[in-house]
Chain length 252, copies 8
Amino acid sequence: MQGMVMKTEIKEILEAVRDGKVSVDDALLKIKLQPYEDIDFAKVDLHRAVRQGVPEVVYGAGKTAGQIARIMDVMIGNGQEQILITRIDSDCADELNKVHKVTYSRWARVAYYGKKAEIHGVGKILVATGGTSDIPVAEEAAVTAEYFGNEVVRVYDVGVAGLHRLLDHLEDIMSASVIIAVAGMEGALASVIGGLADCPVIAVPTSVGYGAAFEGLTALLSMLNSCAAGVSVVNIDNGFGAGYLAGMINRR
Amino acid sequence: MQGMVMKTEIKEILEAVRDGKVSVDDALLKIKLQPYEDIDFAKVDLHRAVRQGVPEVVYGAGKTAGQIARIMDVMIGNGQEQILITRIDSDCADELNKVHKVTYSRWARVAYYGKKAEIHGVGKILVATGGTSDIPVAEEAAVTAEYFGNEVVRVYDVGVAGLHRLLDHLEDIMSASVIIAVAGMEGALASVIGGLADCPVIAVPTSVGYGAAFEGLTALLSMLNSCAAGVSVVNIDNGFGAGYLAGMINRR
Amino acid sequence: MQGMVMKTEIKEILEAVRDGKVSVDDALLKIKLQPYEDIDFAKVDLHRAVRQGVPEVVYGAGKTAGQIARIMDVMIGNGQEQILITRIDSDCADELNKVHKVTYSRWARVAYYGKKAEIHGVGKILVATGGTSDIPVAEEAAVTAEYFGNEVVRVYDVGVAGLHRLLDHLEDIMSASVIIAVAGMEGALASVIGGLADCPVIAVPTSVGYGAAFEGLTALLSMLNSCAAGVSVVNIDNGFGAGYLAGMINRR
Amino acid sequence: MQGMVMKTEIKEILEAVRDGKVSVDDALLKIKLQPYEDIDFAKVDLHRAVRQGVPEVVYGAGKTAGQIARIMDVMIGNGQEQILITRIDSDCADELNKVHKVTYSRWARVAYYGKKAEIHGVGKILVATGGTSDIPVAEEAAVTAEYFGNEVVRVYDVGVAGLHRLLDHLEDIMSASVIIAVAGMEGALASVIGGLADCPVIAVPTSVGYGAAFEGLTALLSMLNSCAAGVSVVNIDNGFGAGYLAGMINRR
Amino acid sequence: MQGMVMKTEIKEILEAVRDGKVSVDDALLKIKLQPYEDIDFAKVDLHRAVRQGVPEVVYGAGKTAGQIARIMDVMIGNGQEQILITRIDSDCADELNKVHKVTYSRWARVAYYGKKAEIHGVGKILVATGGTSDIPVAEEAAVTAEYFGNEVVRVYDVGVAGLHRLLDHLEDIMSASVIIAVAGMEGALASVIGGLADCPVIAVPTSVGYGAAFEGLTALLSMLNSCAAGVSVVNIDNGFGAGYLAGMINRR
Amino acid sequence: MQGMVMKTEIKEILEAVRDGKVSVDDALLKIKLQPYEDIDFAKVDLHRAVRQGVPEVVYGAGKTAGQIARIMDVMIGNGQEQILITRIDSDCADELNKVHKVTYSRWARVAYYGKKAEIHGVGKILVATGGTSDIPVAEEAAVTAEYFGNEVVRVYDVGVAGLHRLLDHLEDIMSASVIIAVAGMEGALASVIGGLADCPVIAVPTSVGYGAAFEGLTALLSMLNSCAAGVSVVNIDNGFGAGYLAGMINRR
Amino acid sequence: MQGMVMKTEIKEILEAVRDGKVSVDDALLKIKLQPYEDIDFAKVDLHRAVRQGVPEVVYGAGKTAGQIARIMDVMIGNGQEQILITRIDSDCADELNKVHKVTYSRWARVAYYGKKAEIHGVGKILVATGGTSDIPVAEEAAVTAEYFGNEVVRVYDVGVAGLHRLLDHLEDIMSASVIIAVAGMEGALASVIGGLADCPVIAVPTSVGYGAAFEGLTALLSMLNSCAAGVSVVNIDNGFGAGYLAGMINRR
Amino acid sequence: MQGMVMKTEIKEILEAVRDGKVSVDDALLKIKLQPYEDIDFAKVDLHRAVRQGVPEVVYGAGKTAGQIARIMDVMIGNGQEQILITRIDSDCADELNKVHKVTYSRWARVAYYGKKAEIHGVGKILVATGGTSDIPVAEEAAVTAEYFGNEVVRVYDVGVAGLHRLLDHLEDIMSASVIIAVAGMEGALASVIGGLADCPVIAVPTSVGYGAAFEGLTALLSMLNSCAAGVSVVNIDNGFGAGYLAGMINRR
C-alpha cells in the first residue's frame, strides 16, 4: 500500500536513496506506484493478486455483466489467475462466459474464473442450515470456502424443531474445524450447534421467514444473544463473508 | 354482566315480567345489578367470586399495600375465599399480612390469600428455564399454576447451550400436559422444547440478558418465529399470564 | 428419533441384546434407523406418519410444485396417508393435482391429500376475525384445525368498532373450547374476546392495515399486551400455527 | 402577534398613518410592541392574557419553583388572572404557594392560580381509563378540561377485558360531547369507545404496562390504528394536551 | 344494537311486554333484530342508514368492484341513500358505475353514491398540505368532509420551508373551525399551524418522503410531539379519518 | 415575503403612505404582492429568481414531465434563467427537452435548464464515495454543487476497507474547502475523512447494502455518531441537499 | 502524522537523505516521531497544539477530575495554551481548578483553560432554541463557538408554536453567517429557520420531551427530513459538535 | 451426555452388555450418569472440568457472592482447578476471596481461581479500542484470552478519527493471529482494522456513546455491515465472548 508503506519498506527505500541506488524521483515514484487501477466506475485492487497469490473477489450485485467483465480484464491483465464473483444471476454469468470462461454455481449465485485453490485448510468446514430455504445462502458460503481451498461438509435442513436430524450429525459437528450455521426465523440453530461444538461457530442469519422474522432481523438478534460461547455473527444473508472468514480461521 | 345480558337471561326476565312475577322496575334493576364494586381508585370485579368459584387475581404492581388491602376487603366482604396477588415485594406482603393473612413466595413475588385450589388439572405442567436468572419469572408462572389447582414440575437452568441438561429431562418433557418455556437472551429454549414435546408450549420471553437482548425483545421475536408448531407466546416476563393460561389448558 | 432414543427404548434394546434376541449390529442399526429421508433439498420427516398416525405438514412457500410432489412421494411411499400443504397458490395446487390428488382451499391457500381426520376434538374451535381482509389467515387456521379433526365455528368481520356484531355471537364465544382471534390494525379483538371468554384464546396478528400498522407489528404488540388473561400470540399471519395449536389444546 | 400582524390590522394602522392620527414612529412602535416578555431563561407569552381572557399555561417539568414563580410574576404583572401549571410535584407546589396562592391536585400533578373558568362548554367531556394506573394521566386531562371551563365525567378502570364495566356506562359514553380515552398496555379502550360513541374521541396512550408495552409505544400504535372512525391520538401520557383539545372541541 | 340495547330501550320493551302490547317472542325478536346483514365475506352495518340518516362508508382497499357492488346492493336495499367508498382506483369506479351510479374523485381516490349531504357544519374546515405530493391524502380528507356536509377550504403546498406561502393564508387559518394539516417528511406543518390557529388541528402524516422519512413514521412521531396545544394525530395517510373527525367536530 | 415583511420595509411603506406617495390600498396591495404563483397543483416560488439571481430548483420525484414543464413555464415566464431539476429519469428528461432545452446527467438523475453558474466558490468541494454503488448519489451532489458555481473534485470507490486508496488522495482531502462523504453499509468513510480533513464534512448515508444495512439506516446512525469533529449529516441518499449545502459553505 | 506522512514531506526527507544532511536512521526516526503521547488510559494528541495553534478539546464525560488533569498536564507540558473540556459537572471543575485554573460555564457544562481565541470568524453564529429546556445544549454549542473565536448571538425559547417570537428575530436570522438550531420534541425549528435563512443551518436535536419524543430520536429524524435546503444534522444533544462545525464554517 | 451419547459409545456399551461385562442396569446407569450437578438455583456443568482440562466459566452478573461461592464449591469439589468469573464487582470479589482465593482484575471486572493456563496459542491476539471508555470491555476480552492461554497485545485509544495513532501500530495489526476490535459510537474501527489485517477480526460493539449511539446498537449495526471481509461480530459489550472465541481461533 502506497499511502502507508510500512516502515521496513521506507527504510529500504531510504537506504537505496542514500546509497545512490535509487534517485529521489524514482523513490518517490516507487512509493506512489499504485497497487490499484482506476477505471471509470471503480478502483480495482491488484495487490492481492500481486502479493498474496490468493483469489480476488468481485461483488456482483448492482453491476452489469459488462462492468464485471471490464474489472476482470484489468485483473487478468495484471496477472490475476483466480477471480470469484458473488451475487450474480445465471443470465449475467452466461453473458460473462462469452468474454471470460467462468464456472457458475446456480444455487450459490456465485461464479469463478480460474481453478479453485488447492485444499490447504487444516480441517473441515461444516455448513449447516435450519431449513431448505436457507440453502442459497449456505451454498454461497460453501462455494466460497471451497474456492479458497477448504474441504466443506454440508448438513442441510437440520433445524432445531427436529432435533434428531441435527443430532444425527453429531460426529460431523464435533469433528469440524469451523462451523457455519445458517438459519432464518428464530435462528436457534447457532446456539444449539454452539453448545455442541468445540470450534468457532460463524452464525449467518437469513432473511427466510415472514411476519416477525423482519427480514432476518430476528435471527440476527437471536444469534448475537447466543448463550453458547464461541459464536460470532455476520450480516444477514452474508454467505460470502462467512465462507471467507471460515477459510481464514481454517488456514491458521 | 348487565350490559350484555345473554339472550336466555333476557328471555327469562321478559317472561317473568309478562307473567307478573317481576315488576318492570325490578326487572330493570336486576339487569342493572352490578357485578363489580366501585371503590375510589378501582372497580373491583366480583363475578368470578360469585359465579365461578375460582380465585380472584390482583395485579399488585403500582399499588400500595393499603390499596391492595382495600381491594381485598371488598372481595372478601363479597364472599371471595381465594385471592392471588402478583408483583408485590416482601415489604408490601408483610404490610398486607397485618390485615389479611397471606402466604408469600419471595422468588415469585406472589402472595395468596386463602387455600390453594385442589389439584384438578388433568396432567402436569412443566415449567422450564434457560438459565438461573429466568427463575423469578418461572416461579411466578409455577406458583400461579399451582394456585389454580395444577401439579407443576420445575426444570430450571436447561438452556440449549448445554443440550444434555435439557435432554436429561426428556421424559418430563414428553409426558407433560402443557409446557411453559421461560428464557431470555436468544430464547431458543422454546423452539427446542417445541420440537421435542407433543403438547402446547407457552413461551415466556424474559428481560434477562444485555446489549442486543434489548430487555427481552430478542427473546420475544425469536419465540414468535419458532420453527416448531404448537408454540405460542405471552408478554415479556409475564409469568402470571403463562401460568394462568397453562392452567386453563390443563383443565380441558 | 435416533439421536435421542428415549431411555425406555434404550433399556428395551439393551435387554434384547443381553438376551441374545438382537445382535449388536442390529441393535445399532435399529438405533440408527433414520426416521427421515434425505432428498436433494430436504430431510423429509417420517416419524409422525409412522408413529402417531397424524397428518404430516408441508410448508409450501418457496417450494415449486415439483419439489412438493417429490416430498409427497417420499411420504406416501412410507405409508403416510394424510398430508397438509400450506401457503400454496392455486396454480401450484393444480400442478400438484396432476401427480397426487389434493383438495384445495382457495381462501386459505391450503391443500390436503387424503381424508381429513375424523372429528375427535372435545369441543368447538371458534375462529373470529376483525375484518374481511383477515379472512385468508383465519381460513388457514380454520382449515388446518378441521384437517386435524376439530369442529370449527367461523365468526368473521366482528371487529370491536362494531361491538354489537361481536356481542351477537356471545353464546358462540362463551361455549367455545378454544378461540382463535385473527385481527390486523390495532388487534383489539383479542383483548375483547379474551375478556368475554373463559377458554384459551390464540391471537393471530395479521398484516392487514396501512401506515402505523407496520405490516402487523402493531397488532402483534397490542395482542402481547392484552389486558385479558388466557391470551397467547403466534407470529403475524400464522394461521397454520394457530390452527394446529388450537387442535392440540382441543384434543386434551 | 407582532411579527405577523394580520392584514386588517396593517390596513387600520396604514389608514391611521395616512389620516395623521398616528405618526410613522408610533405606528412602527405599535407593530413592534411585543406580546411577550423576555426573562433570563424564557420568553413569557402574554398575548393570551391580554387578548383572549383565557388562562395561561406553564409546563412545569424541568423548571424550579423559583423559575415558575418568576414566570408567574411576569404574567400576573401583566394582568393575567388565571394560570395553570402542569407536571409539578407537591413539594414544588408547596414552594410556589409561598409566593403565589395556588390550588394543587396531587393525582393530576397540576396546580392552578386564580379561579377556574366558568363552565361554558356546551356538553360534557367524558374521561375514561383502562386501568387504575392510568388515572394520573386521566386526572391531568380532567383537571385541565375543568380549568378551561368544561364539565367532566370520570369513568375509570373500565378496560376492555371487563367489558361489562364499560358497557355499564353506555349512557355516559353516548351522551358525551367529547371523550378522552386513556389507556396503556394494548390501548384497545380507544377503539371500543370509538365504536360506541358518536362524538370525537381523543386517545391518550399511557406508559403503563411492562415488557412489550414499550413505555406506551404499543398503546400509541394501537390507538393510531383504531378501526373506529372519529378517533385521534396525542402523545404518550399527554393528559394536558387531551384536556385542552377536548375543551377546544367542546367550546364550538 | 341487539347485544347492548340501551337501558331506555330495554325499559320501553319491558313496559310493552307488561302491558301486553308486545308478546315475549316479539320482544325477543325485536331485540334480536339485527342491524347488520351477513353476506358471504362481510357483515354490512345498516344501523347508520336506518337511525342516523348519515352516509354509510365502505373501505374499498382490498375489495373487488363486485364485492363493493354487493355491499352497496344490501345497503341500498335497506334504504341507504348515500354511500362513500374510499381507496378505490378509477378502474374499480368505472366497473362500479355499471351497477350503481357513483361520482368519482380521481385525486382523492374516493367515490360516492347519492347526493352529498347539505352543508350543515357550523364553520369551515381548512385542509392544508406541506407539499404537492401530499395532495391525494388531503383530497381524501376534503372530499370526505364535504360529503358529510362541511364547507372545505383547500390551502395546498404551504410547507414551512416557505413560510411566506403559509402566512399568506393567515386569515383562512385564523377563521377556520377545524384544520386538517397534511404533511410528510418532517411534518412540521402541524406544529406551525397549531401555533397560529385557535381551533382543533388534526394532523395527518403522509408517507411522502424518502430515506429517514421511513414511510411516514418520522412525520407521525413529529406530529405527536407537536409543541403546539390543540393538535391530535391520525394514522399515516388516513385522509378519510381526518375528514370524518373534522366533520364530527364541525357539527358540534 | 408578504406575510412577514421585514421591519425596514414596513417603515418605508409607512413613510410613503404618510407622505402621500402611496395610497393605503396600493400600500396594502404592495404588501400583498405575492412572490409565488399558484398553479393547479403547486405554488411556484419566484422570489429567488427575482431577488437573488440564483438558480431555482424543482424536485422531480413524483411529478410528470408535463407538470415539471408547466412549473418551468411559470418560472421562465417570470425571468428565471437557470433551473435545476433533480430526481428525474431519462425518459422524463427527453420529454422535457421537447418543451424546454435541458442538459441531462444520467448518473446523477439531474437535469438543468440554462447555463451553470460561473465558478464563484472560494475553494474546491471534494465528493468521495465508499463504493461504486454510491456514485449516483455522489453525482447528484457533485452536479448540484457544480451547477451552483463550485469546482468539484471526485474521488470515488475509496472505502475504508482499502485504506490505501483513500490515503492516496490525502492531498485532495487536505486541501478541500468542503468534503461530501457518500457511503452506504457501515458509513465509516465519514469518520475516517473527518479525522483527516480540517474542513467541514457533509456525510451522506446511502441506501447501498443489504441485510442489517436497513436501507441506509445503519450508515445514517453511524455517521451521526462520528467520532470526528466537523461532521454533519443529511438524509439518506440526499445528494442534492449535500451539494447545495456544500456550495453554501464554499460561498462564505 | 507518522503513518501517513504527506508526499511532500517524504520528498523533503528523501532529498535530505540523498544530500547526506540526514542519516537513514534519523530520517526514519523523524518519520516515526509520534505526535501524541501515550499515557496509561489515553493517547493524548499533541499535533493540533504544535501545528495549528488552535485549542485542544477534552471530552470530559466518564473521566475523573484526576484523569482530565493528567491529560492537561501532558498537553500543557507540550506547549498547549488553550484547552476546552466538555461535559463536566461543577464538582469536577472545582476539583480541576485546584490543579489548573479553568473557567467554568455551569449551563454549558464546559470548562476552558487559557484564554478564549480572539474573534476571527467572519460573521456571526446564531444559536437558537425551541424551548428553555434546550438551553444547556445550546450553551455547549455557544461557548464552544466563542472559545474557538466566533461572535455568537443567542436567541432562546423561540419554538415554532409561538411563531411571532421567532419572526421577531428575523433580522438576526437573515444576517447570520451560520445558524445552530437546537430543539427537542418535534424539532420543527430547524425547518422553519432553514426556510428563512440563507446560510448553513446546523440542526441539533435534543433529548428534551417525553413519550414519543423517544429521547431525541423524533427530533433527529424530523431534522434529517427537513424540507428546507441547507440544513444538516449532528448527534442528539451534541452541542459541542455543532459549535465546532459552525466555527469551522464561519472561518472560511 | 446421556441424551445424545455418540454412536461409538453406544456400540461399546452394547458390546459390553452382550459380552456380559456390564449388566443392563449398569449400562443404563452409565448412560444416565450426569455430567452436571443440580444445586438449588443452578445446574453446574462439570464435563469441561472432567473431560477437557480447560477452565470453567461462571457468569457473575445477577449472582450473589454466596451463590458464586457455592457453584465454585461444587466445581472444586469435582476436581476443577481453574475457574473464571466474569462481570463481578470488587465488593463481590472481596467477599469471594474469603472463601476461595481469587485474583481480581478491576478494569475487566473479572476474577479467576487457580492459575492461568500456560500460553499455548500459536500467535498473538491483538485487542484494540476506539477510545478510553471502551477499555473495560477490552480488558474483559484480554483477561479472558490470557486466562485461556493466549498472549495478548493491547492497543487502546486508536479510534479512526486519529488515524495516525492506529497506523502507528500497523506492524502489530499485520502480525496478529486474531484481532479483537472494541468500539462504541460509530464502530468504524472494525472496518478499518479489517481492511488492514489479514487475520480474523472479532468486532465488539460497546455501549459507549450517547444520543444516536443507542446503547451500542449503532456500533453493532455498523460492524455487521463492515465492508471488510474477515470481520464477525459478538453482542454489545461482550468482551468475554470475544476473548473466548479469539482463544479458540488462536488454538487451531
